[in-house]
């Protein structure tokens, strides 16, 4: 139910009421509303849940698990 999928913003219809965007998830492109992530722009990744983007993926934070792995002596 709380499924959220990361997708890339392809285009944004800024004139639309809810900032509706085309968002690409792997091979599939779907409409998603960006009114809850007003600073998201084309090229950003957003986490989409039931048709609404709830967050913009923070690219700086996305690597923290790999940094931890390095401190554990990982690759």
């Amino acid at each position: 139910m709380c499924l959220g999928i990361p997708g890339e913003i392809i285009s944004i219809d800024e004139a639309s009421d809810l900032r509706t965007a085309k968002v690409r998830f792997g091979g599939a492109t779907r409409d998603a509303h960006l009114n809850l992530v007003p600073d998201a722009q084309v090229g950003d990744y957003v986490i989409v849940h039931v048709g609404f983007a709830l967050s913009k993926v923070d690219t700086d934070e996305a690597g923290n698990v790999f940094e931890m792995l390095r401190t554990l002596g990982g690759p």
Binding site: P6, L36, S55
Partner: protein, 366 residues
């Protein structure tokens, strides 16, 4: 897919498993709160690869599972009306009410439809002005903003044939109910990443301090769950009771301000019943008075007409509280399967029973 595939790496997973094994010197019991996390743990076999010191308890984070039978009966009563189109997220259609489920009503000729988004339900109302379109709005804080948005748009556009039957629940009061229960065995929580994406985790900090229980806000992929489990075990071993954020690529401490503001402008906090658990104070949301004309519970005459629940061997309530495992149920996999279920956790794509059934945990590993 970017931001999914890299968190499913096998070598990295094994390194984190080794790190957890090295960190855990004593037995620890931890609860993953969200049903999606339960499914990931079982789907990837992580539950069987964790060291024996770490015991997982599956939490109540499945909104379909905790929607009270009384509210499903109300949805069924509405769906049976000739003037109503009942619209819902897919999982809800097969969850048993007291006597039957929504899919049976559809089979009997009721106008029952499935949508992916609340705005699709609103679209149906716009396209069918002669029908009373009732959206069965359930979910946790993750889903509440989207459902709130449908009401805001309905009001703005003056759509007067759109209604919502709500069963919205909140995670922190449920965690408090678990942590304060005399039967509680949970020593640390993996907090739900998408709920916290909306709400942030300030409330969780209060609970971690009050109940001396560490928490880690966790994502949903194997590396997320393993890193979060490692962080939680470290806190337990070191005697810390903080809230740490593993899922920082999506979650900020304050959450999503726009989403929270939207939720708070449309809904108010009320006491709410949880199926199998009972009423938890201030654990639910209902539409504020300003939006009462969209509230199916207030507009339609569907007050409690529910007969007593029939006797059942189903132990869904105990499973949802983490007291028993799905395989402890005498009906598991025999009288209760995803096709013909006795309890909601076997139906929902997030239910613990469904996870055990799909990923073949006949003999519980732990």
């Amino acid at each position: 897919m970017r931001y999914l595939d890299e968190y499913r790496d096998g070598d990295a997973s094994r390194k984190l498993l080794d790190a957890i094994a090295a960190a855990a010197t004593r037995p620890w019991t931890v609860m993953e709160v969200c049903g999606s996390q339960t499914h990931s743990f079982l789907k990837y076999g992580i539950d069987q690869m964790l060291p024996s010191e770490v015991t997982l308890i599956h939490g109540p984070g499945c909104p379909v599972c905790v929607t009270p039978a009384e509210i499903i009966d109300q949805a069924i009563a509405l769906a049976e009306r000739p003037d109503v189109t009942l619209v819902s997220y897919g999982d809800m259609l097969r969850v048993p009410g007291t006597a039957k489920d929504l899919l049976s009503v559809k089979a009997e000729g009721g106008d029952v439809r499935m949508v992916y988004s609340s705005l699709d339900a609103l679209k149906l109302a716009r396209e069918h002005p002669d029908r009373k379109v009732v959206f069965f709005a359930i979910g946790f804080e993750t889903t509440a903003p989207a459902n709130a948005m449908a009401v805001v748009v309905a009001e703005r556009e003056g759509i007067d044939n759109f209604f919502m039957l709500t069963s919205h629940v909140l995670v922190p009061p449920a965690l408090e109910a678990i942590a304060s229960s005399p039967e509680n065995r949970v020593q640390g929580f993996l907090a739900p990443g998408h709920v916290c994406t909306v709400t942030g985790y300030v409330d969780y900090e209060r609970l971690a301090g009050k109940y001396r229980t560490p928490m880690v806000v966790s994502g949903f992929e194997p590396l997320d769950l393993l890193q979060a489990t490692y962080m939680l075990v470290r806190q337990l071993e070191e005697g810390r009771c903080e809230v740490e954020n593993q899922y920082a690529r999506s979650v900020k401490r304050e959450g999503n301000e726009q989403a929270r503001a939207l939720m708070e402008s449309v809904f108010e906090v009320v006491d709410h019943g949880w199926r199998g658990i009972g009423v938890i104070p201030r654990s639910g949301l209902r539409l504020k008075g300003r939006y009462a004309r969209f509230d199916a519970g207030r507009v339609f005459d569907i007050a409690a007409t529910t007969p007593r629940q029939a006797e059942s061997v189903c132990i869904a309530g105990l499973v949802l509280q983490g007291i028993r495992k799905p395989v402890d149920c005498p009906a598991f996999g025999i009288d209760c399967t995803p096709e013909h279920c006795l309890g909601a956790p076997m139906v929902s794509s997030e239910g613990a029973c469904a996870a055990y059934y799909h990923y073949a945990r006949q003999g519980a590993p732990r």
